[in-house]
Homo-oligomer: 330 residues x 3
């Protein structure tokens, strides 16, 4: 006569594992840059800066010991998946790497909501990279555990935008008052779209340097303009480079051009060289989300204003901060 | 004149790392459901329930700290490999993920016994998924370290059967006296075969609901019948659903049918909907090994009797229990 | 008026994380066997032996807790990547597994120097396997963190050569005075080339047993001969086997032969069987870098002189030693 035993989850529906629920962002999803205001950004950057201080002092620490991250990548991205893996491991947590979903049950026809609800049986937080716009929002709708959007197609890649902004803040000490020049493929690059949106919360000036067919989309310009941000478009970097505080360069992909010779021609124009840098301010930085191909000459790498490899490291601190926050430990 | 130095393994042939050898299942392989009797199952479920209690209380703990699991998957299975990874990490252990064996030395022609004897130089326990029946038994014959079978083709997948049975035990508080109805592809599904074998150790009643060409194989029915278990076959779920305590649904794969329209026709019949559920007992559960495609309507997910996502989590506790047991820590 | 905030790395350019910088090999790259002298080899083997002692006693320990290894494999190698993963995990460190670079940003055209400079933002040490000769040296030129060469095409695989030599030292108690016979593909096998170079630092005798078209290259023989090492070539193992202390067998790959029947014919000649072993000394060992195909009969595996699976385990201790050393913890 064994008595009826209620299901595990009737007793304990959200598996809180003893976390403090009063931590800001506890249990929240990170889906879009639009979910943040300046106060929240300042908080995230404070935590990320603390993460930097701790890493510099002790390398790693056990803030998330025992926590498990499912790193669910439907698209390959060594950079982003390595960065989240490292962030989780530096906080003492563990990772379930799922980098190769073509080999998974997804190929058996499973839906994203089912995959996510399965993985949250094993993990405490899910980082999701998926080729379809809106996939992270869909996953978050079904998951009880926090979802962090690591790129949903041409949609958003909010942790990239946050690390870009954090890089500016840490390297130049402020965001207000800066002139930011974006150069390269401004049409298809979700990176520059998200960063422009975040920057529009600050008192900045935006320059766009791009060939006609890759210029910043009108709807983004309108959205930014509605916040009162001065914007101007150019085809020659030299018109604005001497006044630029942040040059943000993006990759111009050959596949964007019907005529490959057009792509070849751009190589001579939208490239940053040591000579280019001789026209820049002393206190400014050059950023790039990487991978780069030819847009920045390797000779620039030694210039202290070349911030793109440091940018990768700031990304680790941002991701450490976000993981700690959504898991209630920040 | 350096004296002769005996090989490391002459001194220390089994590398016990100080484990207690009196733990039940210490050093044993988990190959088949047929290796367990009711007493052993009760022990495994006690340990698994303790794992659940510990996870609910502290999330993770260091029972297997310093131990290493080689997760050797010759076939993709996100679900199973993630579950073992999570189980090992929640116990403080580490994982060597080998999910992609087509990229490994196996493609250079290495035999499974050699691969396993290589990996046991690095790991303390090996989880093996392999497309050939008998592969885990073969690996276990050569390995000194424990092998856990995570699926050998159309052979066995014992940890799935154990987690299925554990789900029933935890959700309904008992196994004896229950009516279990299996529906879908009962011919090719190793999951239902293994579960039926385990259930035959208990005092239960089995119903099979399947189209003719996917019915439970005669040899399994004879094996189960020899244990005195009442079995009956149906083509319409409604004949038995009102008396069912556990409905176990499996995926009906399109590839099983020469005529694709036959598969389409089944979709209307072998599907569980909210309407279907209105005919069920209040205290019953619906299970599915996942991934599902169309066999259970998403509207059923919100029904508290839908146990299939909780089933995934029970799997984690079963795998934690098995890992701890074979490593001498339970 | 936020004051100017200098970039993170202006303050802390090498991110030492508090490591002792007086440890031998601290921060160094492991690129080639040619970088070691006998004194350094003795030191490495002392540390590796300590690693063995610790593993035998406690399994794992936290010497590298908080440290992160990026395991960057541009070519598949389950054996080598698993061995480094295990070595890092047994020392309490974490791993970023990057086994599948065809899925990475490398396919977007990124250069190796950029990939390495990105990964060192996340990791403390990088293990690199790459199909091109010189790739590890190139990576080391750009990286601030230590690079460990895990095979650069037909170039070097120094940790394999170190583990081979360590196996001889541990199993036979010495290297000086031994007769080492290498058999199989001596032309294309970088393993035997690197091992021969390391052995030439000791007082040994080298025998080469190979078909004409796979004989030891003249330039290697000259390099070894210049160190005063006696060398002799044979086509029949039996001419030298009774006096051999170490038989090092390598795989003869079918692809090396234009005429496949020639490969078939070799199978009867360059194979080690139980009968072969009856002609060997009592105190000798048979080694093989694995994977083997037909070169050593499985019946030999039970012979205590068959050291090839133990060789895998010695590899773990060597890699533990190297990781600890370059990270300043040995």
């Amino acid at each position: 006569m064994t008595p009826f035993n209620p299901p595990i989850h009737a007793k304990n529906p959200h598996l809180p594992f003893g976390d403090k629920q009063d931590s800001p962002f506890y249990g929240q999803d990170i889906i879009s840059v639009n979910q943040f205001d300046r106060q929240q950004l300042a908080y995230i950057f404070d935590v990320a800066h603390e993460m930097y201080e701790m890493v510099a002092r002790v390398g790693s620490f056990d803030l998330l010991k025992g926590k498990i991250l499912a790193n669910l990548f439907y698209e390959p991205s060594t950079r982003t998946s390595s960065s989240f893996t490292s962030a989780m491991e530096r906080l003492g947590g563990s990772v379930i790497p799922i980098n190769n979903v073509s080999y998974s049950s997804v190929t058996k026809g499973e839906s994203l909501p089912d995959t996510v609800r399965t993985l949250e049986a094993y993990a405490d937080v899910i980082v999701l990279r998926h080729p379809e716009v809106g996939s992270s929002a869909l996953a978050a709708k079904y998951a009880k555990k926090p979802i962090i959007n690591a790129g949903d197609g041409i949609g958003e890649h909010p942790t990239q935008a946050l690390l870009d902004l954090f890089t500016i803040q840490e390297e130049l000490g402020r965001v207000d008052g800066l002139t930011v020049t974006m150069m390269g493929d401004l049409k298809y690059g979700r990176t520059v779209h998200s960063l422009a949106r975040l920057l529009s919360l600050y008192d900045i000036r935006l320059n766009y340097v791009a060939p006609d067919i890759l210029s910043m989309p009108a709807e983004i310009q309108e959205e930014i303009g509605a916040k009162g941000i001065p914007q101007a478009a150019f085809t020659d970097l030299m018109e604005v480079f001497p006044d630029t505080d942040v040059l943000y360069v993006t990759r111009v992909q050959k596949e964007r051009f019907e005529d490959p010779t057009r792509h070849e021609n751009l190589k001579g124009i939208y490239v940053v060289t040591a000579e280019t840098m001789s026209h820049a301010k002393d206190e400014m930085i050059v950023m790039h989300p990487l991978p780069r191909v030819w847009e920045i000459d390797m000779a620039v790498d030694e210039d202290p204003r070349a911030a793109y490899f440091r940018q990768m490291e700031y990304g680790q601190y941002i991701r450490m901060a976000l993981l700690a926050m959504v898991l209630g430990k920040a």
